[in-house]
């Protein structure tokens, strides 16, 4: 992977209600972008456990050291930093680079 990540602005920071997520369309892919505390996180929107594109609509919080989102379908937790599924590690999702640029939220290419 090159270090020249191409970034896409997906929304204003204020478009994401604090401690929730939104879904962004990034190069044809669905990306769930979360604003938790002061941080931004991005993972695939598709929930591998249910096959529904819904992870952006889950409740966020922490389990111990992990910052997680709970899938609204069957409630599995996904680690927002690593994409790992806490209950079923084989069901990991991809994480995406995300950053705040001024007032904008920008998403880069998916991590491999």
């Amino acid at each position: 992977m090159t270090n020249e990540t191409s970034w896409i602005s997906v929304c204003a920071v204020g478009d994401i209600v604090p401690d929730t997520g939104v879904c962004a369309l990034v190069h044809g892919a669905q990306v769930a972008v979360f604003r938790v505390g002061g941080e931004l996180y991005a993972i695939d929107n598709l929930d591998p456990c249910s096959g529904a594109a819904v992870l952006s609509r889950g409740l966020v919080g922490n389990l111990g050291e992990r910052v997680v989102v709970a899938s609204p379908i069957y409630k599995q937790h996904f680690d927002l930093r690593t994409g790992e599924c806490v209950e079923a590690p084989e069901q990991a999702v991809r994480t995406w680079p995300v950053r705040r640029q001024g007032d904008h939220v920008q998403v880069g290419q998916a991590d491999a």
């Binding site: 209600v17 401690d19 962004a24 369309l25 409740l59 919080g61 379908i73 409630k75």
Partner: protein
């Protein structure tokens, strides 16, 4: 080889024998049960509940299918008339001859009717069977005043029934005080006063000498007049004799079985009569010169006989067969809401015994302890007005445990308002019998806890402890908690890692500290970021308390996806939409509008169990559009997505139905409109039926209302679903205003005290004191909470607004209803295929086949 067993009588004890035998699975047993009554065993302990709305079916002790078991023949309305022991046969009143190898008398007892001239006049009744109760109800309807002869335990039960029928009720007792056997003078005095304050008239020390025609006497027009030895008279329209019981031993006398002087078939420790093939159990038996008029010793006898028969028939080496060894006659009961308990030597008859007394005439509480001469052992006691300590005292007495230095501390109210240190349950021996009705020891409870019964409901199910009279439930709960702690099973009710509090505690904190935002709650009482457990709980508590719009900025992030989008998420990420149809009533125009909207958005439609229409397959971005149209057609949010009041189902009621006695639809609509939107620990379902036929199935709901001629019966804590449970009667014949007040209190009390995601039925199972306790809180306002609970409900009712109306008109909220934050496109993962003329979600396989084809929902 078959053994023919004939059991005469199918009362509580006779039936217990059958259950025990069935549980032992004794092979080759052909059992014939002769039951004089027209219905099989029912719960006589709770008989008076028949007058507060419990039906004969609900009182039944027979589990469905019980008498369908092979080898078990029940003969209802069949009276045994003769026994021929030489030929081992029973002849019925119809002349049928039934041979036996073994015979068990479980004939019970009959009410003692004092030999007073005139005691057979019409309207002179007894109180023992369901038929007696039906007769009493019939006479009650044509009477203004009723007298109960007998101020003992059963007499007072019966007096309650007479009062519940709305009659002016008098109790006539021969002894100088009420419940003379169980309580002493001090206790009798408090009991007397309490009962008179309930509107009954008590006459003690009255010896009835004759009952004569009452018409014309003193210008009154009563059916009877009772003449007493002191020259006074009492006019009345009906008389119920409840002055003790007599063993039904007439058949035993006929076949010369050996009957005690004061009645009762004499039995040995195995409950055998002088004929080795004949047993007697329950109130017809006499052991050690005593007849035991309580159910627990009867059950004990049933167990003894079952084991004995089993051992005989299986020819098992049985050295440790249980024997009947007498019974402790301590009792605790609730008479018209008054706790009365009597333990052991209640009268201090033991030589050298000392006693301690406490009485509080304002609260109408009387307590007495009888202790041994050295002050170390408890011998007995009396508790009137408050019997909280009964379980503790009983165990101390039965197990001969050491009393504290100052035994009076056991009954004195603690001055700091805190409860006294209860019984150290750890000090109870494992063999201590905790539930005497079902013979469950502390050891058995501990084993069940170790095997996973860690809730009071589970423990009752596993051991049957507390399932008959319920008196031991507080102690059972204590033992369960202690055992869980001992086994290191965390009795940890912390909500999650973010809050070291239970839901109830958080609710309390939110109320008391007037906390209105999750971040304040977390900052003051929690840690971390929160999670998908505590956030929805906090959201629900905040909504129950303050009822602010759930989607306003500071609450939005707490909502589960369903609440966040005010719709029910489905497996494919689409939503279903349920407009409210209060009481299940909808106009043709309303139905047409719903149909038109469903059609224009291509939604799948299905009727729900709550009498409304569910529209499936709505995409996130369609929700506000659909709702704009529904609101324009006059609909409001149905809250199908919330842990909140869902629906109030109804039948058509007296408006249309030939049988209806009240307007069930009108009441259902009023209730639904009152409570709509109320957030609670779990969903709440209601129903209102217009008559006892119960077409709305109200008894399967959290709140069920059933019309009566006089008003409404209120049932609570029912459930359909995974663990069906019938709702129980909380109060009967209520006017509509009282009905609503009780529902207000009930709902707010549940919201205040339930666990997260705990339906009312499970919550009720965990309430110490069960339905009686709930009735005390809701109806009798024992905790003094009623006004507070009603005020809390009033706030929620007054601040109701339709969430969808608010959501579609608030631009910030409405902007959230889109799939992509940066595109107007829809979710390309959603695909539908047709089925039976509507859509359904495509399977994964079907979706793969679609790949590359744009997915469009066809609309006209």
């Amino acid at each position: 080889m078959t053994t023919r067993l004939v059991v005469i009588g199918n009362g509580m004890v006779g039936h217990k024998l059958l259950e025990e035998l069935a549980a032992l699975g004794t092979p080759g047993l052909e059992i014939t049960v002769l039951c004089e009554e027209s219905r099989p065993a029912y719960d006589r302990v709770h008989l008076s509940e028949y007058f507060s709305g419990r039906s004969a079916d609900e009182l039944s002790l027979v589990t469905p299918g019980f008498f369908d078991q092979p080898g078990l023949h029940l003969r209802l309305a069949t009276r045994a008339a003769r026994i021929d022991r030489a030929f081992k046969r029973v002849t019925t009143a119809d002349g049928e001859v039934i041979p036996y190898d073994k015979l068990v008398f479980a004939t019970g007892s009959s009410p003692f009717v004092p030999p007073i001239p005139g005691n057979d006049r019409p309207g002179c009744l007894t109180y023992r069977t369901l038929d007696d109760l039906a007769a009493l109800a019939g006479w009650g309807a044509q009477s203004k005043r009723g007298v109960v002869v007998g101020g003992g335990l059963l007499g007072l039960e019966c007096a309650k029934a007479v009062r519940d029928m709305g009659l002016e009720t008098h109790v006539v007792e021969f002894a100088p005080r009420l419940m003379a056997v169980q309580v002493d003078d001090g206790g009798g005095r408090i009991l007397h006063r309490t009962i008179e304050e309930l509107g009954l008239v008590v006459h003690t020390g009255k010896n009835t000498q004759a009952i004569v025609d009452g018409s014309g006497i003193d210008g009154a027009n009563a059916r009877h007049a009772m003449k007493f030895a002191d020259g006074s008279t009492l006019e009345t329209d009906l008389i119920v004799f409840s002055a003790g019981i007599r063993p039904r031993d007439e058949l035993a006398r006929q076949c010369d079985l050996g009957v005690g002087q004061r009645g009762g078939i004499m039995v040995d420790n195995f409950c055998r009569t002088r004929d080795r093939d004949v047993y007697a159990i329950g109130e017809c038996a006499q052991w050690g010169g005593k007849v035991f008029g309580l159910v627990a010793p009867g059950y004990d006898m049933a167990r003894v006989v079952a084991k004995h028969l089993h051992a005989l028939l299986t020819r098992e080496e049985a050295r440790d067969l249980p024997e009947f060894a007498g019974a402790d006659m301590s009792t605790k009961l609730k008479l018209m809401g008054v706790d009365v308990a009597s333990l052991g030597d209640a009268h201090g008859a033991t030589p050298g015994s000392r006693s301690y007394q406490f009485s509080d005439e304002r609260r109408q509480v009387y307590k007495r302890l009888v202790v041994s001469e050295d002050g170390k052992r408890l011998l007995g006691g009396v508790l009137v007005g408050d019997a909280t300590e009964y379980g503790t005292l009983l165990q101390m007495m039965l197990n001969g445990m050491d009393l504290p230095e100052a035994p009076e501390s056991l009954i004195l109210p603690a001055s700091d308002g805190k409860s006294r240190p209860g019984l150290a349950v750890d000090a109870l021996p494992a063999a201590a019998q905790v539930c005497s009705c079902n013979n469950v020891s502390k050891g058995q409870l501990c084993v069940a806890v170790a095997e996973g019964a860690t809730s009071i409901g589970a423990l009752k199910k596993a051991t049957r402890a507390g399932t008959t009279c319920g008196g031991c439930v507080p102690l059972v709960t204590q033992i369960m908690k202690a055992e869980m702690a001992r086994q290191g099973l965390a009795v940890n009710n912390h909500l999650c890692e973010h809050f070291a509090h239970s839901r109830q505690e958080l609710y309390h904190l939110v109320r008391v500290e007037r906390i209105r935002r999750f971040e304040d709650l977390l900052a003051r009482h929690g840690q971390g970021l929160g999670c998908d457990i505590c956030k929805p709980v906090a959201a629900s508590i905040l909504a129950s308390c303050w009822n602010e719009f759930v989607l306003q900025q500071e609450h939005a992030s707490l909502q589960d996806s369903n609440d966040y989008f005010l719709a029910n998420i489905q497996k494919d990420g689409t939503y279903s939409v349920v407009p409210r149809m209060p009481g299940g009533e909808v106009t043709p125009d309303g139905l047409i509008a719903v149909g038109r909207i469903a059609k224009s958005y291509g939604l799948y439609t299905k009727l729900t169990g709550g009498q409304r229409v569910d529209l499936f397959g709505a995409r996130l971005e369609q929700l506000p559009l659909i709702w704009e149209e529904l609101i324009a057609a006059g609909f409001e949010s149905g809250h199908a997505y919330g842990k909140s009041v869902r629906t109030v189902k109804s039948c058509v009621g007296s408006t249309w139905c030939r049988y209806g006695v009240q307007d069930s639809v009108g009441t259902a609509i009023d209730l639904e409109n009152r409570y709509k939107g109320l957030r609670s620990p779990h969903k709440l379902k209601f129903a209102v039926s217009g008559c006892a036929r119960e077409c709305a199935e109200a008894q399967s709901k959290d709140v069920g209302v059933i019309a009566t001629e006089q008003g409404w019966n209120l049932y609570v804590c029912g459930n359909g679903g995974m663990k069906p449970r019938h709702a129980e009667l909380l109060a009967g014949d209520l006017d509509t205003a009282t009905l609503i007040r009780y529902i207000d209190r009930f709902l707010m009390f549940y919201i205040r005290t339930a666990d997260r995601l705990q339906r009312t039925s499970v919550w009720r199972d965990g309430l110490e004191g069960g339905m009686d306790y709930l009735r005390d809180v809701i109806v009798h306002d024992k905790l003094g909470l009623a006004d507070e609970l009603e005020a809390e409900m009033a706030l929620v009712v007054d601040t109701y607004e339709c969430e969808w109306k608010r959501a579609v008109t608030d631009p910030k909220v409405r902007a959230r209803f889109r799939h992509f934050v940066n595109s107007e496109a829809g979710d390309d993962q959603v695909a539908f295929v047709p089925e039976r003329g509507q859509i359904r979600p495509a399977s994964a396989q079907e979706k793969r086949a679609f790949r590359g084809i744009p997915v469009v929902v066809e609309t006209e």
